[in-house]
Amino acid sequence: MEKTRLNILPVPTFSSLGVNYAEREMQQYETEAIRITESQEAPVRVDVTDSSAFEINASEGRALFVIQYIKSDSKLSVDTSIAASAGARVKLVQVFERLPEAVSKLKVTLADSASFELVQLVIGGGDNVIEDAVILDGARGAFTAELADSLAGSDRLDLNLIAEHRGRKTTSEIHLGTVLSGTASKIFKGTIDFKNGASGAKGSEQEEALLLGNCVRNRTVPVILCSEEDVEGSHGATVGRLDEKHIFYLRSRGICEEKIYELMARSKLMRAVSKIEDEPTKARIYKALGWGDDNE
């Protein structure tokens, strides 16, 4: 089978780093797109167990909350496209639970004053290739992303997020928390692209990666592209072990090192988990992460 280039970095860089694209064999699947509209009860919970496509449309001024819980023992692809009309508010939660091989593509277009909130949690997974492309087309569109991934063993993840600012005064705010252990390997490409005309736009991106173990590999590519003067863009990343100050503080309260790492690993994921306002989904996530029931 021929390999397809996925997760293409919008502007390529040094090829030896292996971050310009991911190449995977793609299965063709035929399925009619599942349509989700705002008439359905919130949140719309969807269990994804096979390759499937989704079309989510939020009409003017309406709100929509969708949760996709993706879990399967076989290889799968998920295509999700979202169109948010003027003033519409869409929230999407995507949970990827230990998928052996998956390709996910999310494409979102925002009209004037539309907002999109993405909460994406990747729990393990042999080989996940995930792309989130958000086009802020209208004026004052707002995009927030709270991403978290926890990879162990030989898990692999290639994550390509693109926030394309076309409209005036559009905003994007992206945060990623990562915990890697074992021989896990992750690539995060996060691009904020300010197109000419996106005056007054603001974009920020922050990644915090906690590495546990000396055989992990964490590649981060925080890109800002800019052809508009009147914008503010920033990105930041911290990668590595825990800050000594944090360790000392927690230790001085009697917490041992092993527990500190456990706590901090949890804290990296908690930001995303706490944004999932749905108890059944949360319970499933706690179970998947082995956190146990907090109320015992």
Binding site: V11, L212, V216, N218, P222, I224, D230, H235, G236
Partner: protein
């Protein structure tokens, strides 16, 4: 909507003068084994170098152009004049330098700088060095500063050169490294013995004068244990209608506990393709500091690389890039942490105006063995108008948990608040803008020797001049 100040193109009259060349001194255009052999003949290469050049040409022909970076469409390498016979042999006495070349360098202020503040000077005019000199007390301390060709034929250094030349940047590295290997000419060889501290800098100045030509100088610097050197490199060329090519190569070997500062103010004419490769390898507790100002060139690919190969080695990179009209400057740095407790710090600024494009591109790799290492990158970009472009493309590749890696980047424009604050204190808006840009570039200018800081501020002043008045 507020009216934007138009910024004019730089007044380059200081750099744009030139003398006509005698075209009879040019080797034929193009790249064939015959031409490469002719260069070897001209330079009386030893056999290993003859073979090296031909092998590099073969690699050049087989290597594709990189898939990323600025466009090199306007560059016709096959039609570049790769070698120009010199008008005279290299001199150590300024009086013997041919009159027109002498005047060129006088106008660029090189001899004056040598008298005032340098320990040694080399000047390259097109393909060959025309002048090289070091102060006697420096030579007596055992410091060697000469051109690579003479060193290669000197039995004291022949073996050192053979064992170091293009070992750090092999011709297989990329297409223009291969080209360099085939046609290199001129450049400097510097050797600083153990425990020798050179308190005043050495400087090389590269001038590409001929039309449609390339300059391919090779700089090889070796610092022995616990030595110190500051090396300054300046480059310029007049503007022709035909594009020029600069594909130099810099290889720096920094020994245990040694420290090297390498400063460059690059001001090639704005139709030059500057595809330069610079690399340093640093041993235990050694240190490399790069200071880099990129103002000229039509297209630049420049990412000085530091390989921290010994425990406790460190690297610092401070850079500024100013991309004006018609310029596509792709600059940055690469750092490889390849030993425990190494540290790196990168601080860059870029400015885009009048349709110029600047790209900050970097990579920081922390390998499995680099436990206890630290790296911090900070890059800031300033957009001065709405027709320019500024991209930031960093990569951080971490393979150990026992490290601290931080990265920060910001892009924006000059804030209205800052302008308001300065104008409220009596500055015109234009003056306020120029002041803010100068302040923005301060990280680099404060790292440069005074004369160069002044030159850089002049360059910024010239770039911003259209906005004053």
């Amino acid at each position: 909507m507020k009216e934007k100040t138009q910024v004019g193109d730089i007044d380059r009259s200081l750099y744009d003068f030139r003398y006509e060349e005698n075209e009879g001194d040019f080797l034929d255009r193009g790249l064939t084994p015959q031409i490469i052999s002719e260069i070897s003949d001209e330079k009386n290469d030893p056999d290993w170098m003859r073979e090296f050049r031909l092998k590099a040409l073969d690699i050049y022909n087989r290597t594709p152009m990189v898939e990323w970076g600025a466009s090199t469409e306007g560059l016709d390498v096959d039609n570049i004049v790769t070698y120009i016979r010199p008008q005279s042999r290299m001199n150590t006495d300024w009086n013997n330098v041919p009159e027109n070349i002498k005047e060129t360098f006088e106008r660029l202020g090189i001899p004056q700088a040598e008298r005032e503040s340098l320990a040694g000077v080399g000047a390259q005019y097109d393909s060959e060095l025309v002048y090289h000199n070091v102060r006697s007390e420096v030579a007596e301390s055992g410091v060697v500063y000469t051109n690579l060709e003479s060193a290669m034929h000197d039995e004291r250094y022949a073996e050192i050169i053979r064992s170091h030349f293009m070992k750090l940047v092999p011709p297989t590295d990329h297409k223009f490294a291969a080209l360099h290997g085939a046609v290199w000419s001129g450049g400097s060889f510097v050797y600083v013995p153990k425990n020798v501290h050179l308190d005043i800098p050495l400087q090389s100045y590269f001038r590409l004068n001929a039309k449609g030509a390339g300059q391919f100088e090779h700089t090889l610097i070796i610092l022995e244990e616990n030595s110190y050197l500051h090396f300054i490199e300046g480059c310029s060329a007049p503007k022709y209608y035909e594009a020029g090519l600069h594909a130099g190569c810099v290889e720096l070997f920094v020994g245990k506990g040694a420290s090297l500062r390498y400063s460059t103010i690059e001001n090639w004419s704005k139709n030059m393709y500057n595809l330069n490769t610079k690399r340093a390898i640093v041993q235990e507790n050694g240190r490399i500091e790069w200071v880099s100002g990129s103002f000229g060139s039509h297209v630049s690919y420049l990412y000085p690389m530091s390989i921290l190969n010994g425990r406790g080695a460190s690297a610092e990179f401070t850079g500024i890039t100013f991309a004006g009209e018609g310029q596509d400057l792709d600059t940055g740095a690469k750092i490889v942490h390849n030993a425990p407790e190494t540290s790196s710090y990168m601080n860059t600024k870029s400015i885009s105006k009048s349709g110029g494009k600047s790209t900050f591109r970097s990579s920081v790799a922390v390998n499995e063995n680099a436990v206890g290492s630290k790296s911090s990158v900070s890059c800031e970009s300033l957009m001065l108008d709405n027709i320019s472009r500024s991209d930031t493309i960093p990569v951080i590749d971490v393979k150990t948990d026992k490290c601290d890696v931080g990265h920060e980047a910001r892009i924006g424009r000059i804030s209205d608040e800052a302008i308001f604050y300065l104008t409220s204190r009596g500055l015109s808006e234009q003056e306020a803008r120029a002041m803010i840009v100068r302040g923005f570039a301060d990280n680099v200018s404060k790292e440069l020797p005074l004369e160069y800081a002044v030159e850089m501020n002049n360059l910024i002043g010239l770039e911003m001049q259209g906005s004053i008045g």
